[in-house]
Symmetry: C2
Subunit: 311 residues, 2 copies
């Protein structure tokens, strides 16, 4: 089986103030030849143009939480982002002729997450791609969110095969030349991998994959009216993916009190001090580090994964 | 002459998403004893509560550009920020009984400006304070903006004596424990200095002051519809206050072209890649480094500086 990836979508500006993806998509739209591979078609899409124009994460509601199956099917949801989600779903859903078999959604974070890939699912096709990319660039990290899977509300979930790229640390509303180039190179590496796979000439894949599996998110200490009372402890700030041991400092209150990590096992926090997560009551996400042994099966996309969210 | 500083105002949240100042002011409001000095009264004020609530720089208009004399006197300006500016002016203007003789306005920046102080004016009282603070903490930098003076539109301009503190690099919408504590310590150092001066027991002041005087601001390269076409060159990113020599890289276009600095003399850029300045068409502000010889005169506040913007 070859040519199973027929159409790839590269999405930026799902969050309007994450400019790395916004300007990469604009570049790809201006120079479509950069995305040209002979075995598939690639489209570059700005997901939330109104939020981009306003330089805000979203207008009414976080677009990257609007792709749950029930929400997409609910005609009563008519906010700007709910409407955009339905339009994007109609454009990218694999059920449609010109739907996408593989989605790359470009994000950035104020956390020190370097180049992180969050796959749409743990489909073997994704895992093999991740193993390839981790081997190609040892700085690439793989993060599995707890809510990933068929009914996740993220844009990437429109296709079983695909991923979000999170790059950081970078402030909202800012472009950083190095992180821009690193993200661009990673996109090309993915396209080249997909192209080689389509040609039944798959690139060499490691048999192991290191990944960080989300366990639970942790909120900031807050007062009775919900205001934060502490910030990330200086020893933990910018230490994404480093081990946090029981008893080590987690928060420092504004009055100088230390709140230690009270869990019983060592964890690896990520999304530490992400600006957009204050309102989601997430100070960080604790993960466990995993070594996965990969299947040696074909890395083609089984056809039964191509009707996701066709409802 | 003693006790010339009778009332100090510490202002945070002039920009609603610069959280260092927001949470410092909240802390000071909860623990007013931290600000207590026997020779003056101190008030802690949240300047733009609606923008703080929305976690945005401003609602309608940048509040820190609303304090020009003509704007304050213009009854036709009725946006949220224009209204707040008039309220703050009424509260802090030294013309009023309970006005402020000294204003500290707390800001943050995505540029790597460490602890930077921007005085309200080059009044000798300010310069002596700056010399004291620079000597106390060698990491403190002093920056003179080109538009400073009596009719500047910044909040700090309500009083001839006072300053803005800019701390960075920090993303909008984020608190960083170290930068929070450094800003807090700097506020206390200023209060202690003012208190000692009031007691006619001034703290030891260096005879020299190093300062960076703004020359001109530089915009990003843009296309015909105003979109940026380049970002700060990696060699310049985060290099605030470091020398930039003629011919050295300034911008890197999205297609990989280098735009060098074309000036004829070495400059010291600041506010490099500040998120909020994209819309102001400022990629950085070029400065020249100056050594100032300070007057040895009394460092008390002359009474003729106390009626600024009394209109």
């Amino acid at each position: 089986m070859s040519h199973v990836i027929r159409r790839v979508a590269i999405v930026g500006g799902t969050h309007g103030n994450e400019l790395t993806g916004v300007y990469l998509v604009k570049k790809f739209q201006e120079f479509p030849d950069l995305l040209k591979r002979s075995t598939f078609e690639t489209v570059a899409l700005l997901a939330n143009p109104k939020a981009v124009e306003m330089n805000r994460r979203y207008v009414d509601r976080d677009l990257n939480r609007c792709f749950g199956r029930a929400d997409l099917a609910n005609p009563d949801l008519t906010s700007y982002e709910d409407t955009r989600a339905k339009e994007i779903w109609a454009q990218l859903s694999p059920k449609y002729d010109r739907g996408a078999d593989f989605i790359i959604d470009l994000h950035s974070t104020t956390a020190n997450m370097g180049l992180t890939i969050l796959p749409s699912s743990k489909h073997p096709f994704n895992l093999q791609l991740l193993a390839y990319l981790s081997e190609l660039d040892r700085s690439v990290r793989v993060f599995f969110r707890e809510e990933d899977g068929e009914d996740a509300p993220m844009l990437r979930s429109l296709s079983a095969c695909g991923c979000t790229i999170e790059v950081g640390p970078i402030a909202q509303g800012v472009v950083n030349a190095n992180l821009f180039q690193q993200t661009e190179m990673l996109v090309y590496a993915i396209l080249n991998y997909l192209d080689a796979t389509n040609r039944s000439n798959p690139l060499v894949i490691a048999s192991h994959l290191t990944a960080y599996q989300a366990i639970v998110s942790v909120d900031y200490p807050r007062n009775s009216v919900g205001e934060i009372q502490a910030t990330i402890h200086p020893q933990l700030q910018f230490k994404d993916y480093e081990p946090l041991h029981p008893g080590e400092p987690m928060f420092l209150t504004f009055t100088g009190e230390i709140f230690p990590y009270q869990g019983e096992s060592t964890v690896f926090p990520v999304f530490i001090n992400e600006a957009a997560y204050y309102e989601k009551h997430i100070a960080m996400v604790l993960t466990k580090k995993q070594q996965l042994q990969l299947e040696t099966a074909s890395n083609n996309v089984p056809s039964n994964t191509r009707n996701k969210k066709g409802l």
